[in-house]
């Protein structure tokens, strides 16, 4: 079972790497910003798959909790910074 | 360290990251880019340090390097915040995010 979970985790990692091509090529800044959300979700998935195989046991799950909690923060900082006056939010601008 | 173990792989990965960070630090002129490169060097050192402390797989990572790395991560964040503040203030004053020494001659550098 450990091997199986590692294989799935490795393949998820490959799919992340492929999707990172979009972060590198853009073209828009929002396309690039998606990279943060991408590793947020996929990183959590990989950590969940690694937790049962980890030498430190299920404690690794706490890392996934932290990553999931903070996944949206960089995107929020981004949308605030690119809003009309640099400190608003996109819904006000609409 | 040789062989194909988790600790060996990440120790060499740390060595490569140090090299990449040094190259970026030397070549990049935008201060934020240089800051990122500096942080890559730092995390390469941390990874190397942590991985060499995990040479005996059954013992896990040595807690002393782990504690020092956690301290180092927080200090690196503080240093990053200081550089960001300096860069923003510098850009306010000069409209540049590049140090004067890094400017080519025709653009007013020394």
């Amino acid at each position: 079972m450990t091997d199986w979970l590692l294989i799935i985790a490795a393949l998820t990692l490959v799919s992340v790497a492929a999707a990172l091509w979009r972060v590198a090529s853009g073209p828009t800044t929002v396309d690039r910003m998606m990279g943060a959300q991408l590793v947020g979700t996929s990183g959590v998935a990989i950590l969940i798959l690694l937790a049962p195989t980890s030498r430190s046991g299920w404690a690794a799950l706490d890392v996934a909790v932290v990553l999931a909690l903070l996944a949206a923060f960089a995107s929020i900082a981004f949308v605030k910074a690119v809003s009309r006056d640099g400190r608003g939010d996109p819904e006000e601008d609409a | 360290m040789t062989g194909l173990e988790t600790s060996t792989i990440f120790a060499y990965c740390g060595a490569a990251l140090i090299g990449i960070g040094i190259y970026g630090f030397l070549v990049r002129r935008h201060m934020i880019r240089r800051l990122i490169a500096f942080n890559v060097i730092g995390s390469g050192v941390f990874l190397l340090f942590g991985a060499t402390g995990a040479r005996q797989p059954d013992l896990g990572v040595d807690p002393v390097p782990q504690a020092l790395i956690i301290t180092g991560l927080v200090v690196a964040l503080a240093a990053t915040a200081l550089v960001v503040a300096l860069t923003v203030r510098y850009a306010h004053l000069t409209k540049r995010a590049t140090l004067r020494e890094d400017l080519p001659d025709e653009q007013g550098g020394s």
Binding site: - | A15, G44, A54
Partner: protein, 311 residues
């Protein structure tokens, strides 16, 4: 066999992402790749079994650093800063050669390491009973090497003074950063109202389990700082003026408490030595104080120097 294959793949992707973050042409893309890099390193630390470090890396690399750099780059591009061309091919080749030789020397040094070097793991394990906690990393941070942690908390204070010193005279006494606002019934404001209780719970949990399982004051404080910054970004709360006494007391309280307990230890024998019978209680008190101070300091550091005139 699958384990090393996964590690090798992860290491290669980490290196590729680091290359993209340092060499990519687009500045904004570089910042995003650096956030990606932080998250992937958290996975690498988990694979190594260093969950304490993985927690710190996830909270700092994927959380606070992202907030800091995205905000900074946006501010700089708003100022329309001028960016120069990269150096010529000759200079770049020389830099590449320098960087590659440093990496090669470090890698060569690794080949000479004793493969069975155990380090201090057993030394720490032998004294763990007298440290008051079961997590060896917390034992090192707050008991065996308390000096480091005390000095680190003071370094954070010094950096805060440094950042604040950059304020213009007319802004001194104002609140740090810019006044934020958002649509009160919007997605962002709703998220920023719903998340802080959960974030507070997770932050306190990470500090609390730190005595027996991976976690601790630094990781918990980083989470708390990030969650407070979310509320500030949504305009739900605002940073207090940098001259307010309560701000000063909060950022100093943790290090002061640590120093006070250390001094009591000095009177009883050794500076910063915790008596084994009371070690657990004392570590919990120090961690609680440090968590509050570090969380406040980190949040203030990310906000930056005062940019508003005092009201």
């Amino acid at each position: 066999m699958i384990g090393p294959a996964f590690d090798l793949l992860l290491a290669l992707i980490v290196i590729a992402v680091a290359l993209a973050a340092t060499l990519g042409r687009d500045n904004f893309g570089a910042v995003v790749f650096f956030i990606v890099y932080g998250s992937l390193l958290a996975v690498a630390w988990t694979r190594l079994g260093a969950v304490d470090v993985a927690l710190a890396e996830a909270a700092i690399g994927a959380g606070l650093t992202g907030l800091l750099l995205v905000g900074a780059l946006a501010r700089l591009s708003r100022l329309e800063v001028f960016s120069p061309k990269p150096p010529g091919a000759g200079a770049r080749a020389l830099c590449a050669l320098t960087a590659a030789s440093v990496a090669a020397v470090v890698a060569y040094a690794l080949t000479g390491l004793d493969p069975d070097g155990g380090g201090l793991t057993e030394t720490v394990a032998a004294d763990l009973d007298r440290s008051g906690v079961q997590n060896p990393v917390t034992a090192v941070l707050l008991n065996f090497r308390g000096y480091d942690t005390l000095l680190e908390s003071i370094v954070l204070l010094v950096v805060l003074v440094g950042v604040w010193s950059l304020a213009q005279d007319r802004h001194w006494g104002g609140a740090p950063g810019l006044a934020q606002h958002a649509r009160p019934d919007g997605v962002l404001a709703t998220f920023a109202r719903a998340l802080p209780p959960i974030g507070l719970l997770i932050g306190v949990y990470v500090v609390w389990v730190g005595t027996s399982e991976p976690g601790g004051a630094f990781q918990g404080a980083t989470i708390l700082a990030a969650v407070w910054l979310l509320a500030a970004m949504a305009g739900l709360t605002d940073a207090p003026s940098v001259t307010r006494r309560s701000v000063r007391v909060i950022v100093i309280a943790g290090p002061a408490l640590f120093l006070a307990i250390g001094t009591v230890g000095a009177l009883a024998g050794t500076f910063l030595a915790l008596p084994p019978d009371h070690a657990k209680r004392l570590i919990q008190v120090i961690e609680a104080g440090l968590t509050i101070s570090i969380a406040a300091t980190l949040a203030l550091l990310v906000l930056g120097f005062p940019q508003r005139a005092p009201p």
